[in-house]
Symmetry: C2
Subunit: 248 residues, 2 copies
């Protein structure tokens, strides 16, 4: 069954609704939806409804409300040092599938990629579209927000918002640090907010680590193998899902 | 530091060695290694040595043996229903970074992709090269093997090799099954072999599930969000690493 997001307050049963232009095109032209076909629609307050296609093949009627719990028990925000080429697109798609709450990117000291203001706007729009598509496909109830920050300070300025801040650090892994990640996870309760920071391809610099830990971030190792910049966030999100959703 | 694999028995300290042709090109032409530069070399028995570049800028001298534990405590084999386009390349690269022991692919009932014998040979060579590159980059001690099977039976014929066989099943996740994966992991001991089976884009068919479970595979759910075919194996490998290497 197709799912779409609609940026409106939740409707009532029997109400006729029109999807956003792109989604209307997708549902009726690309997917060729037929009369009475069922579709899932998520409203801005995360209300999920089942709706059916009307005879006009352009609108839908709300059939019933659906109760479903599909979001991670923790709000996990990842912040990644700007990676090369299309890695940020990749991270956005996969992190969305894995339940991320928000994605931040920042120009790290060792980031090769730099964006000017114009490029940031264009790239952000592209990433938001990817996040929406991935959220629909993985049947989530929220679309992760995506933001490209101007510098590291914009990230540290937000530290107070989070209950816990972790930073993946290769040197921690190399020195055999294996306990901090699980320990920090065990201290969190349902609904709390966690921020996990990752470096770009070259890693996160010792100066940045010092700055982040001085402001309260905890260094974590992610095991003995070296992961690429775009793989580490997926490892962390998978581990958090496993720990909070599957391990009883 | 660069790492290369060399398909020879472990050397002795002081011995002069020559890397494989591609790796020699990579180290001396691409990376422009200089006299006395240090390189890690892994031999066929997983012996890891530190070697230095000789004055000829073409060979290396073995300096010392290095003890390192970088492999997952379990031998994890993944078997994936043949996915579309270059997803198998993607899975091979990322699963190698995440510590997979072996990768199998099989034409599932709902696989859109089909390979003839000639294509299998070509594709396998390509995947082996990707696995070698990823194993070098993530500094592993073994290169995962990659095999494309002719049919599902070739997979089930190997079931006796494994201590545990799991199959990721979306319907299990939908029905709220969340305990089997962690439970099965908790029953395994260091060094044991586990096979985890995944469907292609369309999922694994009910007939295949019946066949696999009749032969001893356990259905597992991977949480409430729907993951793409290429994401689920990465989730499982990350979760296994977290469970066996980080959670104490």
């Amino acid at each position: 069954m197709q799912q779409y997001f609609l940026n409106q307050v939740a409707p009532e049963i029997g109400m006729v609704i029109t999807l956003e232009k792109d989604d209307t095109h997708h549902l009726f032209t690309v997917m060729r939806a037929k009369l009475d076909e069922k579709v899932q629609i998520v409203f801005s307050d995360q209300t999920l409804v089942l709706a059916t296609v009307n005879v006009d093949l352009a609108t839908l009627t709300v059939l019933e409300f659906v109760e479903k719990s599909v979001e991670l028990p923790l709000d996990v925000t990842i912040a990644v040092g700007l990676p090369k080429s299309d890695k940020l697109e990749f991270i956005t798609q996969k992190a969305t599938e894995l339940g991320v709450y928000a994605i931040l990117a920042f120009p790290a000291k060792w980031s090769v990629t730099k964006f000017d203001a114009k490029k940031i706007i264009k790239k952000t729009a592209r990433l938001e579209k990817i996040a929406k598509g991935a959220a629909e496909q993985s049947k989530r109830l929220l679309i992760p927000t995506v933001k490209i920050l101007a510098n590291l300070q914009e990230l540290t300025d937000q530290f107070a918002r989070y209950d816990q801040i972790l930073v993946a650090y290769e040197a921690a892994a190399k020195s055999g640090e294996t306990a901090a990640f699980a320990k920090k996870l065990s201290e969190l309760e349902k609904g709390q907010k966690i921020l996990v920071i990752f470096g770009p391809e070259g890693g996160i610099s010792p100066q940045e680590i010092e700055q982040l830990t001085a402001l309260g971030a905890t260094k974590i190792g992610l095991g003995p193998r070296i992961m690429r910049a775009e793989t580490a966030p997926l490892y962390v999100l998978s581990a958090i899902s496993f720990y909070t959703e599957l391990l009883h």
